[in-house]
Amino acid sequence: MISEITNYLSYDFVRNALIAGSLAGVLGAVVGYFVVIRRVSFAAHALAHIGFTGATGAALFALSPLEGMLFISTLAGVMMGASGNKLHRSDVAIGMTLSVCLGVGMLFLALYKGFSGQASAILFGNIFGVSRRQIVQIVFLSAISLGILAVFSRKLFFASVQPDLAEARGVSLSALSIIFMVILAVSVTLASQVVGILLVFTLIIGPAGIAARFCRSFWLGIVTSIVIGLFAVWTGILLACVTDWPPSFWITAILFVLYLITETVCRFIFRNE
């Protein structure tokens, strides 16, 4: 078993997958924790799908899918962020924008024939296809996102937990909301490189949702979320090597099982407390 794993690790594409997966996992876990306490998971989900339009449209403008996605989802993130702390209530507006973006994405696909193989990679992720250049991009973007988040995290946590009081104490809710949604857009784009747009939700919501369900302090929640994210990504990738089933399947399946266990145990614990 061990020798089998070290054998897989000798392959470049497996190592690249682990590096890219770890970065996306850590970023998703940290950003996801704020997504969970801010209750903007639908917005996170929508950002990923809106990114699909950017990815398919990018080919028309001679950009890489990653660049196209980043552009579109950041733009959408700014617009969502501008609707401020009421974001978790704008689900119809988000849903409408999301559907029209998917429609336009389909149009781009139709206009640019022969792109459907790549589209499937964008939708479902192709972590074994991550190149050296993409890894550099991912390192760069994760570092920037986490750095910005570190600077704002104290204010963001306050504003997420008690927005009206935060506003009274001089925290700008709308500026924070926009900054956070842009960071979220970048994270969603990166996570989609790993598990694909359809499953990006898992890396953002999964580890953080599970950790937030039972961790009673902010830092415990963040650290647990990272641990769960890394565990899911590494185990998923190695199981994919062994079984030859897609890593996206394994990562989502692992997180789903963890979620079910947590949910069951937590219901029991909190009821009896």
Partner: protein, 269 residues
Amino acid sequence: MTPIISIKDVGVRLGGHDILREVSAEIFPGEFIGIFGPNGAGKSTLMRCLLGLIPRCAGQLSVFGEPPGQANRAIGYMPQSRTHLENTALSARSIVAAVESGNHWGMPWSTQASREEVERAIRLAGAEEYAHRPFSVLSGGERQRIMLAQALIGKPRLLMLDEPLISLDPRNQARMIECVAGIKAATGTTILFSAHDINPLIGVMDRVIYVAGGRAAIGAADDIISSAALSKLYGTTIHVVRAEGRIFIVADEGNVTEAEHQHHDHNHD
């Protein structure tokens, strides 16, 4: 004595409606002021205006001798909006800790001093027993105490409590009032306390602000809660009935503690 809040002919317009007109009041250090009036009359608006969160369209306003919003560090605000953390196990203590230096840059590390401040606020709010539990599993009364503890962070000299009794049963209402009165006795904090019903607060308040029909009157409870004064404020005949040691405020058409028009008091979730 110089007032810590001075309101002079203040008007507030929101969305094309005059919410408040020509409101004047002076509030002095150490006072416990009850703010009453029907739903949507502008109780929350008045508080948010004092915090500088809503602009005024007329009049002069000063809080601690400064324009509204400048001295908010000295104000503990308990908003009417409720915290929603249903799917998280974040403890009540960490929710209070989020407020401590929450307006600073950087990451939410805690220091010895900040932990002590959090414990002090939790103790003052009488919430030690359940501060370790997840906020999401607390009862309504317990949650309100935690929000009170949040407001107490930073040793405020003025507490603005927006409907802290809402959705509490009479026993918990009495406990909440007792707790706030205790905070006032222990710290000398000035208190603005808005509520629907005047009765639970009789005996702890020094003076009353009654908001109705876009106007507000301030004075001793007996002077303001009178048929003559309230009729003038509402612009219609109001009867103040005292029975069984309780006060009932009724209009010819029915009970006025329920709103005749609704705007803006409940726009936060």
